[in-house]
Symmetry: C2
Subunit: 329 residues, 2 copies
């Protein structure tokens, strides 16, 4: 499934996942508004089932697996949020799920995946080949591989978050100037950009990635898919894809207005801000769009903007550490 | 102002505070639903300005101070959330605020109050008399005392949360069987009950208090205002009023269906559940209604219920401690 989705695919996805997914709130945050000189809305994907937006794409994709293939199960490789999304959908539909996960993924994500009844196959992030392990399982069982982002059905599913942002803004009479969303392989941010290209065409959509993993920004600037070169891991365990997917990149070239990179300090500050001032649990990757605004990388002055908080699956120790290091974010 | 408010006062309050207050979301939580066998909605007052519902009442009350008295300032005594509510309203309206606070209040609350520009006067929770200290300031400056709950304007302001619950449920076509709200002096839960008595008269409203501070429950059972006798402090620093206010108690006799008491362990479990499974920061008192459901004190099976999460001003250390003690809440 490497064809590119259309806005109509997102409308179809919204109808398909409606019985299962949470319609998450778009919350105005006055303090972020006062601080930036704009109006700031937060799309709280932390409230999606499994604590991240990933449920949307997984649900849309798995519901399109032909009935006769479902019993053979689904397989996914993921650092955690896609894992939980796939496992939760599989559980709701009574399908077996096997997830290939890095052994050093956050405990909250590994435990969350197991608690959803999935079989977890650990691999070493540095020496292992997760795609090869998943391919073996697919071959052996006839299971369906559910890719994390390079799939039209996945991207259309993530795009339903963009549809909801457009509707919620319109209901309040707010014309959004910009939407910022965290980006790893690019399924979420390009799905949102695709949705807004029809629902709110004057709204600019930007990717936010960790420094060193800003493959989407670099690829878009260069006009071809390239990998970013990180010197070390990022604290944003969910955003460490070095290169955008083919499907997301094709959409990015048409629909993204630009991209930002944020460093670990900005991400940790944003996690502390999320806890202390917004009163939410944001994982470091989930807080990337907040980080882009708090760090000044994106200037919200005089603008109406929406920041996607894409996931909240952080271990308490990480959040506590961010709060201790940045008591006044 | 010891007259009792009416449902019309709540409608007037809603119009009065609309330019300042956040219309907080009512979020359905599928996991709490699956766990309890009901449909569970969360009214997220953690997203109100200053991180708790208290902004509503303070805003409604202070906006009714005559113009010529405003410059003399406002005074409040509070363990923290009312303090921040009053300070934030005063700041928005350009009025000086003085807050009498226990010296052992959570740092998040003391710092939050100071950051809002209020003068903080500390007192000893055991040996000091906060009402006397506040009365002195009122006498010396001609300032207006803004009571935490025993005031019709305050209760009507808190009741706007009930109005919003009723509207949001109706929009989704959900008939609420019950609403549970944390209770200290009783302004919030009785304001909500008053609102629902007109907007959704078949919905039962229940108070939830910490064990030993369940003065509302005991008073309602006995038919007269009595003080609960606690053997030690509760972890719910915001819910330690031993006796309901006169105004709230008058409303409680007419409009509350009953009450529950929850112990510290149930509150700590609920704080951990809020962090780990809901992805929100709830302070121990703010999580009381969640605790009543998780502990089984209230049986939600087959019911549509709303739980008010009344505040999120917890120090990170407390949340972290609750999460460590209850890893699987």
């Amino acid at each position: 499934m490497e064809n590119t989705p259309t806005p109509n695919d997102i409308l179809a996805a919204a109808a398909r996942i409606a019985p299962y997914a949470v319609h998450t709130p778009l919350l105005e945050h006055p303090e972020l508004g006062e601080r930036t000189g704009g109006r700031v809305f937060l799309k709280l994907e932390i409230f999606q089932r499994t604590g991240s937006f990933k449920f949307r794409g997984a649900c849309n994709r798995i519901l399109q697996i032909p009935e006769q293939d479902r019993a053979k199960g689904v397989v996914a490789f993921s650092s955690g949020n896609h894992a939980q999304g796939v496992a939760a959908v599989a559980k709701l539909l009574g399908i077996p799920a096997t997830i290939v996960m890095p052994a050093d993924a956050p405990r909250a994500k590994i435990e969350g995946t197991k608690a959803l009844g999935a079989e977890v196959v650990p691999y070493d992030r540095v020496t292992g080949d997760r795609e090869a392990i998943a391919a073996e399982i697919v071959a052996a069982r006839g299971a369906t591989l559910v890719r994390p982002f390079d799939d039209a059905g996945i991207v259309a599913g993530q795009g339903t978050a963009g549809l909801e942002i457009a509707c919620a803004a319109a209901e309040r009479g707010v014309a959004l100037d910009a939407v910022l969303a965290p980006c790893s392989g690019g399924g979420l941010v390009t799905g949102i950009a695709l949705a807004l290209s029809r629902e709110s065409p004057l709204t600019k959509v930007y990717s936010v990635e960790p420094t060193g993993f800003d493959g989407m920004r670099q690829s878009r600037d260069k006009g071809e898919r390239i990998a970013a070169h990180a010197e070390r891991l990022s604290i944003a365990d969910a955003l460490m894809a070095p290169m955008p997917g083919k499907v997301p990149f094709a959409l990015a070239q048409q629909h993204l207005a630009g991209g930002f990179a944020v460093d670990d300090e900005a991400l940790m500050r944003a996690v502390s801000f999320a806890f202390r001032r917004i009163k939410i649990v944001a994982e470091p990757g989930g807080a990337a769009a907040i980080a882009a605004v708090l760090s000044g990388a994106f200037d919200a002055k005089g603008k109406n903007i929406a920041l996607v908080v894409s996931g909240g699956n952080a271990d308490p120790e990480i959040v506590s550490d961010c709060c201790a290091r940045f008591p006044n974010p």
